[in-house]
């Protein structure tokens, strides 16, 4: 038995050693499952020796020699940095001089020049200009080159139609829907293709009257020759355009333009001649679907077209149709609204198109201080939001929501004094009594010198010497330290409660004017002109700026963006500044001002605007005249009427006065 035991012992031992050896020799065969066959790998392999790989730039020795210094720019390949001399623009301000057009002055030229003259960039002499405008004649010769041509440096060749002549030296070209092959991004400017009868000023509003994603049926319109549109139904399984379509296009009707506002999408073919359809679609609130456009979209340097249009590949008709059909209502809703915003902000008139072009060039000169993209692409648009006011979006009244910020919680009272009188002291006390008041500014516009002593107030009081012009009150004084202004007249009679409540309301509507006394505008059939009335009415469209809260930005806008002619006119007629300011704010907001209750309404039904004593039943003819002239100057009627007054929540409610926060508002 011991032998058997020993035998078995050795047997077991040798078997185990054998096993060990076997395992040692063929380890992988046993342990690793057979790897995937080469050729059908799943993903990029993880190399065993990946750690030993060299970096792509390791072998790189630093190039010793030098980069060549700036190449001499060639005309065809100009860039902004190379072909435009910004040092000619003093203080980085764009000034443009228009040379009288070559050859005969066409209607198009005249319209360009007219819009230019109203612009703040207009220069009276070529010496102060840093940009020279050259309007080529519409034949192939382009006409003779202007003096100061200098190889086209600092010149802008501008044509509202596709430019007749190709690139001219180092000049920038702004033409309608330029072909992609010759367009120099960041240097040339792409203009929209305007119809012949495009209005010079103002322009028609967008045709979209509601926010709804789909008005009625989902319709698709396809742009055809000569501004005509063909309406088709996306539910039909046909391919609506191009030769890729083998099926019969099915039933379709041909309609002229008026059915367009009903369509949700407007298909625009890619060839350059279809570019004119883009504006039609924009105005109609029909979402442009651009099928592989071979032309540069208008103002593409600054406008984010993906927010208003769909750029699709014309080679995939069915895929595009499916995508359009499946598009979420939220996306359609935002695209449609954006078409309307873009139309009104940049395209509805020749003047806007020209001003936008200049604004783009000014932005290039400003460089980092240019309009941020958000200003270009959200209401009210870059023409009405001046970056000279501030580089921070939070300082503007328009972007609080997008920026996640809220309006300021204190205001500056700006009191305009024409003739010194007793109520002034009382007014200062009332205003200083508001817990939101940060400072009081007295704008002294009287012939008499201001008094040496002012009442003691809890807030700082500053006296500014005015220039005795009516527009003084809207000048952006550096002394104004808050973003909110309560503009007052020495004659205004308010209570602290009223001031407090109006300010709290303003915080909910920082882009609007919040006022106490209102006026209304109407179309006067008899005179065939706009008129306005100061009578108590069920509606209002203007607030008197003698007692009103608004954002400080409107001072900058009033002083720097209004045409000089309008401002001078306002200086002649003091009540006119009031009208002008209301027009300006309405142009920006497209909304009516806000009215809050005013306790003394029934006593002084007619306001404090006029300096003269006693109520005036009808606005003076002078003011009436001013109103018509301002309306004419704007080219359209921006004022919007409201039938709402905002009041404290418990205003005149049958509940104990003790519970009410603004109880003095209800005192007779």
């Amino acid at each position: 038995m011991p032998l058997w035991r020993r035998k078995s012992f050795w047997l077991a031992l040798s078997v185990s050693w054998l096993l060990l050896i076997l395992l040692g020799v063929f380890p992988l065969r046993l342990a690793v499952p057979p790897g995937p066959l080469p050729g059908c790998s799943q993903g990029w392999p993880r190399w065993l020796d990946a750690a030993f790989l060299q970096s792509f730039s390791q072998s790189e020795t630093l190039p010793k020699d030098a980069p060549q210094l700036s190449q001499a720019p060639r005309g065809s390949s100009c860039t902004w940095g190379a072909c435009f001399d910004t040092s000619k623009c003093k203080g980085n301000a764009l000034k443009i001089f228009a040379h009288s057009p070559a050859g005969t002055t066409t209607e198009a030229h005249r319209r360009i020049l007219d819009s230019l003259e109203g612009s703040r960039y207009y220069a009276l002499s070529p010496t102060e200009a840093c940009l020279h405008l050259f309007l080529p004649s519409q034949d192939h010769t382009c006409g003779p080159l202007p003096p100061y041509w200098n190889g086209g440096r600092n010149h802008l060749v501008l044509s509202l139609y596709p430019a007749p002549c190709t690139r001219l030296g180092q000049a920038m070209v702004a033409e309608a829907s330029p072909s992609l092959d010759i367009f120099r991004p960041g240097f040339d400017v792409a203009l929209p293709y305007l119809p012949e009868a495009h209005p010079l000023q103002g322009g028609a509003p967008g045709q979209l009257q509601q926010h709804s994603p789909q008005p009625g049926a989902t319709l698709l319109a396809v742009a055809e020759e000569k501004g005509r549109w063909r309406i088709i139904d996306t539910h039909a399984s046909t391919c609506p355009w191009g030769k890729h379509c083998e099926q019969d296009p099915g039933l379709h009707q041909t309609h002229p333009g008026e059915t367009l506002p009903n369509a949700t999408f407007c298909l625009i073919p890619g060839h350059r001649s279809a570019a004119s359809s883009l504006l039609q679609a924009l105005q109609a609130g029909c979402i442009p679907v651009l099928l592989s456009p071979r032309w540069e979209l208008p103002f593409s340097e600054v406008i984010d077209w993906t927010k208003a249009a769909i750029i699709a590949d014309e080679r995939l008709p069915l895929q595009v149709l499916t995508a359009l059909r499946d598009m979420l209502p939220s996306k359609i809703l935002s695209l449609r609204q954006q078409t309307q915003f873009l139309w009104t902000a940049y395209f509805s008139s020749v003047e806007k198109v020209i001003h936008t072009t200049l604004e783009i060039i000014q932005d290039r000169i400003w460089g980092t201080s240019a309009h941020p993209s958000l200003m270009w692409n959200s209401p009210p648009g870059a023409l009405l939001a001046l970056p000279t006011f501030s580089t921070s979006l939070k300082d503007f009244p328009f972007y609080h929501l997008q920026q996640g910020s809220s309006p300021e919680s204190s205001f500056s009272a700006l009191i305009w004094v024409g003739v010194s009188s007793e109520p002034l002291l009382k007014l200062i006390q009332v205003v200083a009594g508001s817990r939101y008041c940060a400072q009081i500014l007295i704008l002294w516009s009287s012939e008499k010198p201001p008094p040496d002593r002012w009442p003691e107030t809890t807030v700082p009081l500053t006296v500014i010497e005015g220039r005795r012009k009516a527009s003084d009150r809207f000048f952006p004084y550096g002394d104004i330290s808050t973003n909110v202004i309560l503009s007052l007249d020495a004659h205004s009679t308010l209570s602290t409660s009223e001031v407090d409540f109006a300010f709290v309301v303003w915080q909910s509507f920082p882009e609007r004017m919040v006022g106490f006394l209102t006026q209304n505008h109407f179309w006067d059939e008899a005179r065939g002109a706009w008129g306005y009335s100061t009578e108590m009415a069920n509606e209002f469209s203007m607030v008197l700026t003698t007692a009103v809260f608004y954002h400080r930005y409107y001072h900058t806008l009033f002083t720097h963006s209004l045409p000089k002619a309008l401002r001078t006119m306002a200086d002649d007629t003091p009540t006119c500044v009031d009208i002008l300011m209301n027009f300006l704010v309405a142009t920006v907001t497209k909304l009516p001002p806000i009215k809050v209750p005013y306790g003394r309404q029934h006593q002084e039904a007619v306001p404090l605007a006029a300096e003269g004593p006693g109520p005036v039943p009808e606005p003076q003819p002078l003011a009436q005249d001013c109103f018509s002239r301002v309306a004419a100057g704007f080219g359209h009627m921006p004022l919007v009427s409201s039938r709402v007054r905002l009041e404290p929540v418990l205003f005149k409610d049958p509940v104990s006065v003790q519970r009410k926060k603004y109880r003095s508002l209800e005192k007779p």
Partner: protein, 752 residues
């Protein structure tokens, strides 16, 4: 030891008949064998088990083993790059086809080693970065291993750096790829283009129609909308971790850290330093470094030695000057340090410029203006600089710890980005698009993907806004300032269960409102049929009855096809106390504020400091933050949002509790628009549960507790308190004014 003990215990059972002594031998023997086996196993598989963890199923091979391909000297060479290429001319979209996910499919050719006729390799097989790049694509959603389904092809031929390449042979290698087809739909990645002496700004390898993701494009070589401009990857991104630094003034105003600078430019920079002394720092490579110190990581100014890239954090502006090539890796280092890059490279196409808004994060100075650089930069206001730094850098840790805000939920919206700085800063632009090869690869594919599926493209804000801005900003879906025409009218929706008599009274009352254009009754009772058609009141507008499948409160907010107007009046079947003037005026108010809820009874939410939670308030307060939808006008789009876009489980919660659908609607609208409600007309007695109080105080209190719970629940689901508190309500202009009543538009307002 452990094992032997174990066997000792189990021994008797296994070999019961053996004697203890023999058993000892066997046990020892088996233990040795077992230990040996374990040891062998461990020795053999140890290294692999670590490597294979995490990537199951992926091939493991050595790079040395890749198949070799011999390129005959006469094999075809592609055409040079076609400068006129655009997506619609050179790109074959048919390969991409319809795709429900709107994602392109990317195929990667397997790795090969190319040798010429003489057997000399064409280039080194693959660089570390290109290997990483391909691995990143392979791990992404874009990847497909099916060549026939692919829309975009990425060759595994590494052309990241042109210098070591044999141009002609590399081109030949490209041309023999199985789906090359003139380079259609092929994507090449190149970061260092050109070579001496000209340093072309795009890859010199003939590549026909292939798309190029290039790291140094100039305006003359970049095919806009076709090529993609990418950054030059900086290896320091992964090697060095720079701590976040708050925006604000830094020690140096301007800093230049590059080593290879053209002598003329260096002169310009040194002149700036001489003029502005302390505020400008111009660094160069160190000449006197001791052995063993990495020269890449040091910079010197005279005899002062600085650590690179750490020194970049000391400066507000950092110069990124072109060298022989336009694209410089230093741009990435500068961004990482939160320094604002001053790019001096005429005609350079900045990385990802198709989607990134570099105006917000950099200053571009023309080369000829270099000497004026200082004054140009000084003209930029400090606030704007801080915003730029912020663009480069924003904190990940700012993932809004909602818990820490819970006591102060109301504040979230007003959270100023500036305060975000206090929390510490990470690098946003850099983090999102520069920091790794993977980030660069994915951003490139996303850009191409957006071109092919434009209707699913990522927006400007998504590309450019740092996370804190994305969290705090509100984009109102009804952002266009617009007053809808009065002629459109409104649709009244009455939710009813079985109170037919009261319902008929409501219908009769509402039908007197001039602007009513349609009346929709939502019949929520499945057990009972609505009354015969003949029994319904005869009114002047169409009346429709919709029967629902289930008695749910959310049926009130369903976007029924029958609603043809923008404005909707939601009204309960017991609201009979509103006058026609009041309803008509409510509609007028809605027209002026179409993006808000415009309602009659107003309510307020309050923070209960004792209980540390929100409380519902229906008393006579001076403030409102909600309106009851028992009588409210709103835009019909909010019906769509309520039904399809309500966050979390709120909708089900409301249906389960049969309560608070109105509070949910108030939350939804306030959250999406960032605006307050508008309460119209003075308070009056409503037949709503909390103001009747007929059933005694206890019911009233239960109701208030339930409503408070709703507010707390919704605030936690929304992660914020979106409701806005206001102190105003809307009334007609001449309300209670001393004016003849008959001349007022809405005389009958507020009568009880």
């Amino acid at each position: 030891m452990c094992a032997s003990v174990k066997y000792n215990i189990r021994g008797p059972a296994l070999i019961p008949r053996m004697k203890t002594k023999h058993r000892f031998y066997y046990v020892t023997l088996f233990s040795i064998v077992l230990l040996g086996l374990i040891a062998t196993g461990v020795f053999q598989f140890w290294p692999h088990s670590i490597e294979s963890s995490g990537d199951g199923g992926v091939e493991k091979r050595s790079i040395k083993e890749v198949p070799v391909v011999r390129l005959p000297a006469a094999s075809p060479i592609p055409e040079r790059g076609d400068l006129s290429c655009r997506m619609h001319t050179c790109f074959d979209v048919y390969r991409c086809g319809f795709n429900p996910k709107n994602k392109i499919k990317v195929y990667i050719y397997p790795l090969k080693k190319y040798v010429d006729d003489a057997g000399v390799p064409v280039s080194s097989t693959i660089s570390r970065e290109y290997n990483e790049l391909l691995a990143a694509i392979s791990d992404s959603d874009y990847y497909t291993d099916d060549i026939s389904r692919a829309c975009l092809f990425v060759p595994s031929i590494d052309v990241l750096n042109q210098s070591p390449l044999r141009i002609k042979e590399t081109a030949q290698a490209l041309a023999q790829l199985s789906r090359w087809d003139r380079g259609t739909n092929h994507l090449l990645f190149n970061m260092l283009p050109g070579g001496p002496p000209d340093y072309n700004t795009a890859l010199d390898v003939p590549r026909d129609r292939a798309l190029l993701a290039g790291g140094g494009f100039s305006t003359w070589t970049y095919r806009q909308g076709y090529d993609v401009s990418i950054p030059v990857f900086s290896p320091l991104s992964t090697e060095v971790a720079l701590p976040e630094k708050a925006p604000g003034p830094r020690r140096y105003f301007l800093l230049s850290s590059q080593m290879a600078i053209h002598p003329e430019y260096r002169e310009d920079l040194e002149a700036l330093q001489a003029k502005h002394r302390e505020s400008v720092l111009v660094l160069d490579k160190c000449t006197n470094l001791s052995e063993g110190v990495l020269s890449v990581r040091k910079r010197c100014h005279q005899h002062q030695v600085f650590d690179y890239p750490q020194v970049l954090q000391e400066a507000t502006f950092c110069v990124v000057l072109r060298g022989a090539r336009l694209g410089q890796a230093v741009l990435s280092d500068v961004l990482q340090a939160g320094c604002v890059p001053v790019v001096i490279a005429d005609s350079y196409i900045l990385p990802f410029s198709e989607v990134l808004d570099w105006k917000r994060a950099s200053v571009v100075v023309p080369e000829e203006k270099m000497s004026d650089m200082y004054s140009i930069l000084q003209n930029i206001p400090q606030r704007q600089i801080e915003e730029m730094q912020r663009q480069l850098s924003l904190s990940e840790t700012l993932l809004f710890p909602q818990i820490c805000f819970s006591s102060n939920l109301q504040e979230k919206r007003t959270f100023d980005v500036a305060t975000g700085i206090i929390f510490g800063i990470a690098r946003w632009f850099w983090e999102a698009y520069f920091q790794s090869i993977k980030a660069i690869a994915l951003a490139t594919l996303q850009i191409i993907n957006d071109r092919i599926y434009p209707y699913a493209a990522i927006s400007y804000e998504e590309w450019n806004d740092p996370p804190t801005v994305k969290w705090t900003s509100v984009s109102n879906p009804l952002f266009l300032p617009l007053i809808p025409p009065q002629s459109q009218g409104f649709t009244a929706i009455v939710l009813t269960y079985d109170r037919v008599e009261s319902l008929f009274r409501v219908i009769t009352e509402v039908s007197k409102v001039p602007s009513l254009s349609k009346l929709l009754v939502v019949w929520n009772n499945q057990n009972k049929n609505p009354p015969e058609e003949s029994l319904w009141p005869k009114i002047r507008v169409p009346l429709k009855v919709v029967r629902t499948a289930e008695n749910k409160l959310s049926n009130r907010f369903f976007p029924y096809d029958e609603i043809e107007t923008e404005a909707v009046l939601a009204i309960d079947d017991d609201i009979i106390m509103l006058t026609s003037d009041e309803l008509q005026f409510g509609y007028e108010v809605w027209r002026e504020f179409p993006d808000r809820l415009v309602g009659y009874p107003g309510r307020l939410h309050l923070w209960d400091h004792e209980m540390n939670k929100w409380k519902y308030e229906s008393e006579w307060t001076n403030e409102v933050s909600m309106v009851l939808t028992g009588a409210a006008f709103y835009h019909k789009y909010f019906n769509y949002l309520y039904t399809y876009k309500m966050p979390g489980d709120i909708k089900n919660w409301v249906d389960a509790h049969m309560n608070c659908e109105d509070i949910a609607m108030n939350f939804l609208v306030a959250n999406v628009t960032g605006k307050a409600v508008i309460k119209v007309t003075p308070r009056k007695k409503f037949k709503c549960p909390e103001c009747t109080a007929i059933d005694g105080l206890s019911l009233d209190q239960t109701h208030m507790v339930e409503r408070s719970e709703c507010i707390n629940k919704f605030a936690s689901v929304f992660g914020t308190m979106p409701l806005k508190v206001v102190e105003h309500r809307a009334d007609p202009v001449l309300y209670k004014d001393d004016f003849p009543e008959k001349l007022k538009s809405f005389p009958n307002i507020g009568s009880l």
